[in-house]
Symmetry: D2
């Protein structure tokens, strides 16, 4: 069985990218995968300053361990200024090839405005840089403020179906590609 770690790139209390991440996690879990969601709002991470170890911030080691032990990743980012959030990029900067290489990754972005794939494109190249896989299925949710109901469920059936395909591809391709396999 595959292990997937999800990381959300928003610190907003009512973050829609966290909603999207949780939804993707649910779908992935329902396919039998083990899923751990790292909620950066609950963690205390420093800005990356190029140091290797961060003894004052035990959450760095916790995040690194979780990712190192995973087979795959879900990265969900709000699109800020046409790219990945600094919060998520900084979390990635705190890790290295040791944790990130060979992971099979699925990407989600969430925007206030019209749908767009800039943040997803940047993340795709970033994850390649650390020698990870990125699945072709990706999800960009435009006008995210009207995508979810009060319970965090998707209002649009087609989008919901896209999450199903995303989860299925992530689990199946992680099974095929993971290092140990």
């Amino acid at each position: 069985m595959v292990k997937i770690v999800g990381i959300g790139g928003s610190l907003r209390a009512e973050s829609q990218s966290q909603l999207a991440l949780n939804l993707a996690a649910l779908r992935v879990r329902s396919l039998g995968a083990e899923v751990e969601v790292l909620d950066l709002r609950q963690m205390n991470l420093p800005f990356c300053n190029g140091e290797k170890e961060f003894p004052d911030f035990p959450d760095v080691a916790k995040m690194r361990k979780a990712v190192a032990e995973a087979d795959g990743l879900i990265l969900a980012t709000p699109e800020y200024h046409g790219s990945v959030s600094g919060v998520l990029k900084n979390a990635l900067d705190l890790m290295s090839f040791d944790q990130l290489s060979d992971k099979v990754t699925g990407l989600i972005s969430v925007l206030g405005g019209q749908s767009n794939s800039n943040a997803l494109n940047d993340l795709r190249v970033i994850m390649r840089w650390v020698h990870a896989w990125v699945i072709p299925e990706q999800i960009a949710i435009g006008q995210a403020w009207k995508a979810f109901d009060a319970n965090g469920n998707l209002l649009d059936d087609k989008l919901s179906q896209r999450f199903d395909e995303f989860a299925k591809s992530l689990v199946e391709s992680t099974q095929k590609l993971r290092k140990a396999a």
Copy 2:
């Protein structure tokens, strides 16, 4: 006379992107421009959480004010994982169209490995997103650990000349394009 603000995206004590930024600032200043360098290592910025105001972090307001009053920007980033550093992206996320639109921007990236323009490309699209100008002249310093001498001067004449062209273009095009002009 034009006002330029420089922001460096590394928190490392011996940061080469800060060296590169300071060098560019010197060249720009020698052309008669007023230059202020915001050293994020000396500032206390929070992670962007989507809030508009950050009363506990007066450096947010200080950065916003400095950028709002500038005509142009120099952004210098280390290339981490094939893109802009999370530190710099987060600083940009803390600002909005109010501060960033219409600024004339010059971009610098610094890499440990072979020269590459990924971080510069991402920054170019990010700055367009906030409706800023980005000058065609850009500087990517590969193998940065051997680019500077002990006094922070460039060892390569061609690279030094590139800084001159960068500074000249930034000052001249800011004079031509700035909003007030």
Copy 3:
């Protein structure tokens, strides 16, 4: 007065990117600029094979001359497979720094599906590579099949206004930035 050359990247008889290009040309002309539209459907260009001269294809020299004498450019591309069309990229490949450097460029893309800025991002980096300027204003027309009426006019007022802003910025910034100025 500034001279602008427009190039459209579609060879389709009923091309919507050509409609968009013609519309932008009209708006730019109404601001007093001289505009020449190069319709690649009417021209006979070869595939770029790395040769410098193409004596059998006089349209290469014609295109190069028109672009060399221009101060600014409008590039309009259909978004094929999430990027610029091969037709337009090949036309650019047939030119070099001699023609393209320092041109002030405005970018338009046209898509059948949902709006997206991939082709515009790629073109922005391509034009920087040849040391051209690209204005921050850019236009991506999604679901282009319902954007125009039978006379080639825009059905959406906001989009029409965007063309006005695009034309105004292109003309004004070309006046400010052009080499001769």
Copy 4:
């Protein structure tokens, strides 16, 4: 056994991207895969004009058939103006999801100047757009004019090793990911 099709994006007689493609093809073949190289210099392809069929250009159908029957692809492009060549992009534009989806793809770029990954980044996003896989291993050959000896062999051992890793990853991941599998 997997079937791989290679397509080179240069029409130059002494093309180094064709050399690189042939070399990659050899390494892939030596791992037991079936490899067919489509040399666009020997084929007669039209510019893509949005038509579905090209009865006057039988090479379109030939290329489509070869790609449709393949499990994986090698795309080798010269980097022109900081992106994929128009020649290669046009060849891709002549195909669609029918041929390109689900293919496992390896990317190579060749530059006259300093190594860079712009063309590879653009190709990565393009291939994702058509729902193909792109392997993390990629090859950018800078200063390609001094990369090969007179027999088309690589002069640099590290680069040669990179071709080995590229070939190994392409064959192994195609075995794991191909649709039929």
